[in-house]
């Protein structure tokens, strides 16, 4: 292996095309020249653009070139990562790149290429977030996280009730509470109906078209109607119900698909070994459909957040939206 490397003239390696994969068994030795070549290319690219003063008007081209170079670099490095460091490498890519993107964003706005009005720098966003966290809106009596630093004092003064009062003023907790309540209220009946529609063809044929039609209806559109149904249109009820509705339809359709997809051999085996009725559900149908149901719950959680934030934009004193 070591011999093989020595036989290759170094000049040939330095000039090698970046996209040519390293020959097997020679991965590590050939990497270094390629890395240097990429870094040289990166510097040359930025240098040339800067020298001809095109860096500003063609900033997106520079960005694109840098992105390509970063991808090439990471790919080369990935080939020499030893297997036990593989996970660390993958995590670095997954979290390191967003950080790099934030840095680039910061730099581009700081350099005056993009307007900070439309694209405020990450540092300014973080500053605003911090201000929101430490401040208390006296007019609406809300804060972002419920002023956690005051919780120990509140606990000493008035016990759990004091801590609860602080939690109740937090925007984030209000949103999460609505999502949690709506999620549970929608998912349980949704899974229930989905299972029934999955196993009973009659119920499925009767309800499937209707459900599919209502499913595509934007829930924000029916929010005003839901509001009017409640004695307190501006309370928590309508918001939770809208979240529950969107979760319900998604879970019904998803669970139905999951139950219909169960390999019939599992149901036959279950019946043959004496399972029937509720036990067939408990031991065969539900566990067989569980992977799909959980995938559906994950999707539904995302949908619930989207719905609640759009509802809060529309009509809420408190909440993230």
């Amino acid at each position: 292996m070591m011999k093989a490397r020595d036989l290759v003239p170094p000049g040939e390696l330095a000039g090698a095309d970046h996209d040519t994969p390293a020959p097997p068994g020679m991965g590590r030795p050939t990497i270094l020249p390629a890395l240097l070549a990429i870094i040289a290319g990166l510097l040359a690219w930025n240098g040339v653009l800067w020298a001809v003063a095109l860096c500003r008007p063609l900033w997106w081209l520079a960005l694109l070139g840098n992105f390509v170079a970063v991808v090439l670099l990471a790919e080369r490095l990935g080939r020499i990562v030893p297997p036990r460091r593989r996970r660390a490498y993958e995590r670095t890519l997954a979290f390191g790149f967003p950080v790099l993107a934030l840095v680039a964003w910061q730099g581009i706005v700081d350099a005056g290429i993009l307007s900070p009005t439309w694209f405020p720098q990450p540092t300014r966003i973080a500053q605003a977030l911090w201000d929101l966290t430490v401040s208390f809106d006296r007019f609406s009596e809300t804060s972002l996280f419920g002023r956690p630093w005051r919780m120990p004092a509140a606990f000493r003064e008035s016990g759990l009730a004091g801590v609860w009062a602080l939690f109740a003023e937090g925007h984030v907790w209000a949103t999460l509470g609505r999502v949690a309540a709506g999620f549970v209220l929608g998912a349980i009946p949704g899974i229930f109906l989905g299972v029934i529609m999955g196993i009973n063809q009659t119920v499925r044929l009767m309800l499937d078209t209707t459900l599919s039609a209502i499913y595509v209806l934007p829930k924000i559109a029916i929010f005003p109607i839901v509001m009017l149904m409640f004695a307190d249109p501006f309370g928590e009820g309508p918001k939770i119900v809208v979240v529950a509705l969107s979760v319900f339809f998604l879970m019904t359709i998803n669970t139905m698909a999951g139950v219909r997809d169960i390999d019939p051999v599992f149901v036959m085996a279950g019946r043959n070994y004496g399972a029937s009725g509720l036990r067939l559900f408990r031991h065969v149908i539900i566990p067989a459909a569980l992977p799909v149901i959980f995938a559906g719950l994950r999707l539904a959680l995302g949908t619930a957040l989207i719905v609640i934030i759009s509802v809060e934009f529309l009509r809420a004193r408190q909440g993230v939206g």
Binding site: D263, V265, F266, M268, A269, R271, N272, Y273, G274, A275, R279, H283, V284, P287, A288, L290
Partner: protein, 275 residues
């Protein structure tokens, strides 16, 4: 060793009382283009303790027939009867499906004890029975593994003892080794022979492999395709206990030739009909 083994085709069934009686069984599927006959006037008697193999081209309705025996599918006409044993608590039948029918959400032990659990056998007792069966096929130390952690052959061992743990009157096997690779299949065939020698269950075994049918069975039943009818019955007069080496004996090879003579034509006909 077995007086009936050397006699004519139906001698086995006559020597001992019939455990399974299926008479003139028909299965007709109504479709939009008219009824399709899957199984036409099929009769089969299986004696107590007999191992019967059903072989036929794909689409001959052999699996359908097995499911009707198991009560998982309804027949259109005819009668199917499995004679109950002395103990009314025992299930009439248990089916061994292909290996992927082992529940992946239950551990090996829970899979084996599943039938007992469904029949409300107390927990300690059903675990003891399941462990006994796991021991017999050398899977004791995999009791708490998940099926996905096992190889295909080990999974199918679980599938087989999941049925046997119920101590059914009749064991029904639906191409149980069909999805296994050739080498694993030989190992499991050997194991099946050993287990059957020990238990002497009444077995109906559906397969598409002639070798497997002759190796395992007391009798090989051939079927035609579209519609499924009885084509011929062969008694396997090869002494037990058998092993994989039995496949090299002259009697085995001769019988395989005779069976292929009949089945080969039928397979060719079935292929033409499908094209």
């Amino acid at each position: 060793m077995r007086p009936s083994a050397a006699a004519g085709p139906n001698a086995v069934a006559q020597a001992r009382p019939a455990k399974i009686v299926a008479r003139n069984v028909c299965k007709v599927y109504p479709t939009a283009r008219g009824p399709v006959v899957a199984l036409d006037d099929f009769s089969l008697d299986v004696a107590d303790g007999e191992f019967v193999c059903i072989v036929g081209p794909s689409g001959c309705g052999k699996s359908t027939f097995l499911r009707m025996l198991a009560g998982l599918d309804a027949h259109t006409s005819g009668t199917i009867r499995i004679r109950p044993g002395d103990d009314p608590g025992k299930p009439l039948n248990a089916v061994v499906f292909q290996e992927y029918a082992v529940f992946p959400w239950k551990t090996v032990l829970e899979n084996v004890a599943f039938g007992l659990q469904m029949r409300n056998v107390p927990r300690a007792e059903r675990i003891a029975i399941a462990e006994h069966w796991l021991e017999r096929v050398g899977l004791r130390k995999f009791a708490n593994h998940w099926p996905d952690q096992l190889s295909g052959g080990m999974k199918q061992r679980v599938g087989i003892i999941r049925a046997l743990a119920n101590d059914p009157e009749v064991l029904l096997m639906d191409e149980p080794l069909g999805a296994l690779d050739a080498q694993t299949r030989i190992v499991i065939q050997d194991e099946l022979l050993r287990i059957w020698e020990e238990t002497r269950k009444t077995v109906v075994y559906v397969t598409h492999s002639i070798d497997e049918a002759i190796l395992l069975g007391d009798r090989v039943v051939l079927m035609t395709a579209h519609p499924g009818r009885l084509l011929a019955t062969f008694a396997v007069d090869i002494a037990r206990p058998r092993t994989i080496d039995t496949m090299n004996t002259a009697a085995f090879v001769r019988l395989r030739g005779q069976i292929w003579d009949q089945l080969g034509r039928e397979v060719a006909r079935a292929m033409e009909m499908q094209s």
